[in-house]
């Protein structure tokens, strides 16, 4: 490389480079930043080089190795320029095919990016939603240059801005331009760069000044500076040269983390090349301007990102901050004036001078100009680096560019600004991203880390994680930072272990405020942010941990135990019966189930299996253990008589009497457990059969009637009297019950009134509310559906109604109308699949507007189509009607299933309060209503809910009523439940377990299903159940496995510490 002696020399070189390039020749761009190399980009480079050489294509195709382009999720990726064809996740074999295709001028459609939301194949990089919504000023540069080739940088227009600046010979103009651009420092604090430079330029230049590029990026999950250092080091050098010219500085320092080896390597090469070309050093291009850059490698202390600590580190001392003032711009490295800017700030400088300060200032908002790179990571579909204009909302970044949540769980919050930042809850996602708004929300911009968290993230655990980081990374100089972070961690650790107290929470908050107030540097002043912001927005999670000893995200190990067990409202030890099943001990397994659940066979069929949705196998990427199907297997194989419920108090006619109103799962469960405690119970049922919704709501093809009856009968013993056809409000009141000598009343009335659509024609003949439709059939055998049937709704009862209608004679077709998309339906996914298999049509994105009729009888329904609008706080997109898309559908039957509510208008006259949701008001801890001695539980309190929740309410009611009758204290009872019984594992090797697939129960063949009410789901086969049970990860063993004593370990050759 020849040393350039003048600006003209440079321009000649630039012309020569540009004339050498034939823009028509396609270029294969392989992204090989650290992320690319880690995913295998080096192999792709090798393969493509070999292919190009062996096919003699070196003149016809260019190959460019670049830094990270941002879409790290899709690495290793290849882009073919100038077409912009984007190939994600390229393997070695695909690479050869790509070279071949490029040579032939073809596009390989099978390798292109597929939009996960729409399923569309997208060819061009710029059309991919992830890229389309970004404004890539800086990251675009990464695609254009090979970071180790200065000629590449010059070819893409690099160093032209410097030439303009040098040619103008007007340093104050440089500072004016930066001021006019409104650029704020990208390191986190957002100080105006132009102002900082002005201050530096105004300092007397007696002994020299320094410009520093701060590349000590240490926030967990943030790597935007790395990608610029690795991918485009010359842009930083150019930025520093311009800055040095404007401020009259002759020495520069690039401080970069030693943990970024590729960045260090590329910087060393870039600095050498710039020196050789005469762009660095003394008398640059004959202008008399001299500037040298020295690279300093940081030894890995997070605090060295703080400017005063960085200065000490550059000086070769221990990295610890000092008091400001004096500010570095007055006294910096070796006591000389020093201006420190972040990597991204420097990378913005050439952009300002290339496009003009005025143009730059137009991007973003008035106070926050330009673009900002965010490192979008965590529980979001598209992770990577995104560059967006300032002032864009969090919603756009997370849900539009990021593509929303990565899994089924909803997004709960984002954490911005790394360990010193704070969490912003999903309900505030309309917040624009700028320095001021984030600070107001209790977070900081920081260098741009953005960690997305979903419902499986525990905010207390997040705060604890960051505090653990900070207590190690605090320099330790300020007592309040060193001890404060330790003590905050200690308290947070206590809370996550279930040892926290309410007073500790107060202390935590008090301490956090003092730490924020009294520390010297930015690290300490923001160290309390993770605690303060999670306390501000997620205090209820802290309180759950402390009061109820529950971690709702199922993260805190000591509170969760085995997730399947703690997810179950009944606390069923799912892990335990699965373990027994795997060992072939079926009777033992049945006893475990029956111990906590009086309706094992019912739950084995219709439970919504919260255990499965929390199964660690499922949350860690595989599919959860089929716990419900295994329970079905056990209940089908074991005679219920192996479990004998043991009465705790002998029956006697003198025992107090309890009235239970309603014989659904809640009522019968309460009756059963009260009876075991010796109380005499009378159960009143309004319908002619017991069972509540189990009998009247759930169709027989899901829950066999003989199974249900057997289970109900097994619970009715000599202490329990059942009175059917007796309804509260009609046949008796609460007062009459007390008059008759009942000492306590439990209201388990259920929710038996269907909600109305509130549109015209709901009372026509042929239009039925869901409950009425199902009850008429399940209890009376009346078949109300005929001809073309329509069902409105997307819940479980909608699917039930649809499948019941399909099975009635004279029905030609059944259509479900739902306002959102299929995967938004609240019904169990398996049920929806089965319904569609059976031939039920699904109309999604429609809302009914009007019911059509002739002579008082339904003839059809008018609907309007919806499109999905903005995402609401839940992360689901809201349906918005499209004008002019109304359509008519002829129907003979219409069932409205948009939700149920309790039918309890009469109850206030009995002295029992109703809340604003139309359900009974109870104390959540004791289930007591506003009237003494009257308790309530189940759907009448919660609104339509699951069977297992009703059973749990019944169990709790039995405990509370017992306490009430014995005059004991009414305190909540929910001790920490971690696995306590050791069941030896069945000894399956990891390879064996890895090869097992989740066993799905077979279903009855379609032709047998359509017109019959025989049970659809078949039990698992023996060997399937066995192997399914063996898939269990056995989370319980961590708590129950007996620890081998030290002598035993010693003989086994294991060393103990």
């Amino acid at each position: 490389m020849e040393r350039l002696k003048s600006i003209d020399n440079f321009k000649a070189l630039q012309r020569r480079i540009l004339s050498d390039v034939n823009p028509a020749i396609p270029t294969i761009v392989i992204s090989a930043g650290t992320c690319g190399q880690a995913s295998g980009a080096n192999d792709l480079i090798r393969v493509s080089k070999r292919e190009l050489l062996s096919r003699r294509l070196t003149d016809k195709i260019r190959l460019r190795i670049t830094g990270c382009q941002g879409f790290c999720q899709m690495e290793p990726l290849v882009v073919v320029q100038p077409y912009g064809t984007f190939y994600p996740h390229v393997g070695v074999k695909e690479m050869s095919r790509i070279v071949e295709a490029v040579a032939a001028g073809q596009v390989l459609r099978d390798l292109l990016y597929v939009d996960p939301e729409t399923g569309a194949i997208i060819e061009k990089q710029d059309d991919i939603p992830f890229f389309a919504r970004q404004t890539r000023t800086i990251l675009r540069g990464n695609e254009k240059v090979d970071p180790i080739r200065i000629y590449d940088y010059i070819e893409s227009g690099g160093y032209s801005a410097l030439m303009d600046v040098l040619a103008r010979q007007d340093p104050p103009w440089v500072i004016e331009q930066v001021k006019a651009s409104g650029l704020r420092g990208r390191g986190g604090a957002g100080f105006l760069t132009g102002q900082k430079w002005q201050m530096l330029a105004d300092q007397r230049n007696g002994r020299g000044k320094f410009l520093v590029c701060n590349g000590d990026e240490g926030d967990p999950g943030a790597y935007m500076d790395r990608s610029v250092l690795e991918g485009n080091p010359h842009s930083i050098i150019e930025g520093m040269l311009i800055g040095a010219y404007g401020t009259g500085v002759t020495s520069g320092v690039i401080y970069v983390r030693n943990e970024y080896p590729l960045a260090v390597k590329h910087l060393v090469i870039a600095l050498r090349q710039a020196n050789e070309l005469g762009l660095l050093g003394s008398n640059i291009l004959g202008t008399g301007f001299s500037f040298d850059i020295q690279m300093v490698k940081g030894a890995g202390a997070f605090v060295c990102g703080e400017e005063t600590a960085l200065i000490r580190s550059v000086e070769g001392k221990m990295g610890e901050p000092r008091q400001r003032p004096p500010y570095p711009v007055q006294k910096g490295i070796d006591g000389k004036p020093t201006a420190i800017n972040n990597v991204e700030t420097w990378a913005n400088i050439p952009a300002i001078f290339t496009q003009g300060a005025g143009e730059f200032a137009k991007i973003g908002t008035l106070q926050n100009t330009g673009t900002k790179i965010f490192s979008l990571v965590g529980k979001v579909r598209n992770t990577g680096l995104v560059e967006v204009p300032m002032g864009i909302t969090i919603n756009e970044i997370v849900n539009t560019i990021g593509g929303g949540p990565a899994g089924p769980a909803r997004i709960k919050a984002v954490q911005t600004g790394g360990p010193s930042g704070g969490c912003i809850p999903a309900k505030m996602f309309d917040l624009p991203i700028d320095y001021q708004s984030l600070a107001q929300a209790g977070s900081i911009m920081g260098s741009g880390g953005m960690i997305v968290m979903d419902e499986n993230t525990c905010m207390v655990d997040v705060a604890r994680y960051f505090m653990n980081f900070l207590k190690d990374e605090s320099c330790g100089k300020c007592f309040t930072c060193r001890k404060g972070t330790q003590r905050m961690w200690e308290i947070l650790d206590d809370i996550t272990q279930g040892k926290g107290t309410a007073s500790e929470l107060e202390l935590l908050e008090e301490l956090a405020l003092v730490v924020k107030d009294t520390t010297m540097c930015g690290l300490g002043q923001t160290a309390a942010n993770p605690v303060l912001s999670t306390l501000r927005y997620f205090r209820q999670e802290y309180e759950h941990h402390i009061r109820e000893k529950r971690c709702s995200a199922f993260v805190c190990k000591d509170l969760v135990g085995a997730p399947c067990q703690s997810a179950c409202p009944l606390g069923t030890e799912a892990w335990r019966y699965v373990a027994h099943l795997a060992r072939g001990e079926y009777q033992e397994a049945y006893r475990v189930i029956r111990e906590t659940n009086p309706f094992p066979s019912v739950c084995a069929r219709v439970c919504d299996h919260k255990c499965e949705s929390r199964c660690r196998l499922g949350t860690s990427g595989s599919r959860p253990v089929a716990i419900r199907a295994l329970k079905r297997f056990i209940t089908d194989h074991v005679d219920p008589s192996v479990f004998k419920a043991q009465p705790r108090v002998p029956t006697s006619p003198d025992n107090p009497r309890v009235a239970i109103v309603g014989s659904g799962p809640a009522g019968l469960t309460a009756a059963h457990y009260l009876s075991l405690d010796g109380y005499r119970v009378t159960v009143f049922e309004a319908d002619q059969e017991p069972g509540g919704m189990l009998t009247s709501g759930i169709p027989a093809y899901r829950l066999r009637r003989d199974v249900l009856q057997r289970e109900i009968e097994s619970l009715l013993d000599e202490n329990i009297t059942l009175k059917c056809n007796t309804a509260l409000g009609r046949d008796f009141t609460v007062d009459t019950l007390f008059k008759q000598g009942y000492k306590a009343v439990f209201l388990a009335l259920g929710a038996h009134k269907s909600r109305r659509l509130n549109i015209e024609g709901e009372d026509l003949e042929g239009v039925y509310p869901a409950i009425h439709f199902l009850k008429e059939f399940n209890l009376q055998g009346k078949k109300l559906a005929k001809g073309h049937a329509g069902i409105i709704g997307g819940g479980n009862s909608a699917v039930d109604a649809a499948r019941v209608a399909l099975r009635q004679e004279g029905v030609e077709s059944v259509t479900l109308f739902y306002r959102r998309l299929r995967h938004d339906m609240p019904a169990l996914k398996e049920e929806v699949d089965l319904a569609i298999e059976e031939g039920i049509q699904l109309e999604t994105l429609v809302t009914p507007v009007k019911i059509e009729s002739r002579d008082g009888r339904l003839t059809g329904i008018q609907c309007v189509r919806n499109e999905l609008g903005a995402r609401d706080a839940s992360g689901r997109r809201h349906p918005v009607p499209i004008r002019g898309t109304e359509f008519l559908r002829s129907l003979d039957t219409l069932v409205i299933t948009i939700g149920d509510e309790p039918d309890i208008d009469y109850i206030t006259s009995m002295g029992i309060e109703i809340n604003e949701r139309g359900t009974l008001r109870t104390d959540p801890d004791t289930l007591a209503t506003s009237r003494g001695g009257v308790f309530a539980g189940g759907d009448v309190v919660t609104g339509p809910n699951t069977v297992v929740d009703a059973i749990a309410a019944g169990k709790k009611a039995a405990v509370m009523i017992g306490r009430y009758l014995r005059g004991e204290e009414m305190k909540p009872t929910e001790p920490v439940r971690v696995p306590q019984v050791y069941v030896a594992p069945c000894g399956i090797s990891e390879e064996e377990a890895g090869g097992l697939r989740r066993a799905e129960p077979h279903t009855l063949p379609i032709e047998l299903r359509k017109r019959s009410f025989s049970e659809v789901e078949l039990p698992l086969l023996d060997e399937d159940a066995q192997s399914e049970a063996k898939r269990c990860l056995r989370c319980d063993l961590e708590f129950t496995e007996p620890r081998a004593s030290e002598p035993e370990l010693a003989t086994a050759g294991v060393k103990t510490v």
């Binding site: 000092r322 190690d472 300020c478 200690e490 003092v514």
Partner: protein, 225 residues
């Protein structure tokens, strides 16, 4: 000269004066642990925080390191300052309860409870000893090591320093252990190598626990003769 206001009183001081010096000149008491006249201000213990600025811009700074600025308004005992000081003293008591200096300060500031898990540390990392050794004894025998909760004071690699003259200056200034070194009755001091002519010989492990940097032990050295 720089004009500033401390607790409502106007004062003019020379450039380079710290807020602590200015406040003490007027007689306002500000507690310190890591400050000592004759040593460079360090700002580690944070006990000397005072409130500066007004309204939303008001903040706490350590008065021992903050230089006087023209027009600055300082409050040395506002409720925000007192709340912070009490919490700092509570943290100090939780870590180093046996120090007489800390006990006295806590008592003076009416700290009546200590709500953290009790620790018994022998060092609060105020750095007085390090500065004493470097600035007054011109030795630089000891320094800080590690960071965060692993920060400690000692010699590089725990090897005895060639430049240590066993002067005992480090112990003399220590707020956490000064009592045992400068006990009013030297014979009863645990070590008292600095003041005691016939120091008791202690087991080596105990000696290490005492954060004493005198190696070899003065007591042993004296007995050798």
């Amino acid at each position: 000269m720089i004009e500033l206001t401390i607790n409502g009183l106007k004062l003019s001081v020379e450039k380079g004066t710290t807020l602590l010096e200015a406040a003490r000149f007027l007689g306002f008491p500000i507690p310190t642990l890591c400050h000592m006249d004759g040593l460079t201000p360090y700002g580690a213990c944070r006990l000397c925080v005072v409130e500066i600025g007004e309204g939303a811009r008001a903040r706490l700074v350590s008065s021992c390191t903050y230089p006087a600025e023209d027009g600055l308004k300082i409050r040395t005992a506002s409720s925000r300052v007192m709340k912070a000081r009490k919490m700092i003293l509570e943290l100090l008591l939780a870590s180093c309860p046996q120090s007489k200096t800390i006990q006295d300060l806590a008592s003076a500031y009416e700290v009546r409870q200590q709500r953290f898990k009790q620790e018994y540390e022998t060092c609060i990392l105020c750095g007085l000893c390090v500065r004493m050794c470097e600035e007054q004894m011109m030795a630089k025998a000891i320094g800080f090591r590690g960071r965060g909760e692993h920060r400690s004071i000692g010699t590089p690699f725990d090897v005895q320093s060639d430049v240590c003259r066993l002067c005992g200056g480090c112990m003399y200034v220590c707020p956490a252990c000064q009592l045992r070194c400068t006990y009013t009755e030297p014979e009863k001091a645990i070590c008292g190598g600095c003041a005691n002519l016939s120091p008791p010989c202690l087991e080596k492990e105990q000696f290490d626990d005492m954060m004493c940097y005198m190696k070899p032990c003065v007591a042993c050295e004296i007995r050798k003769d």
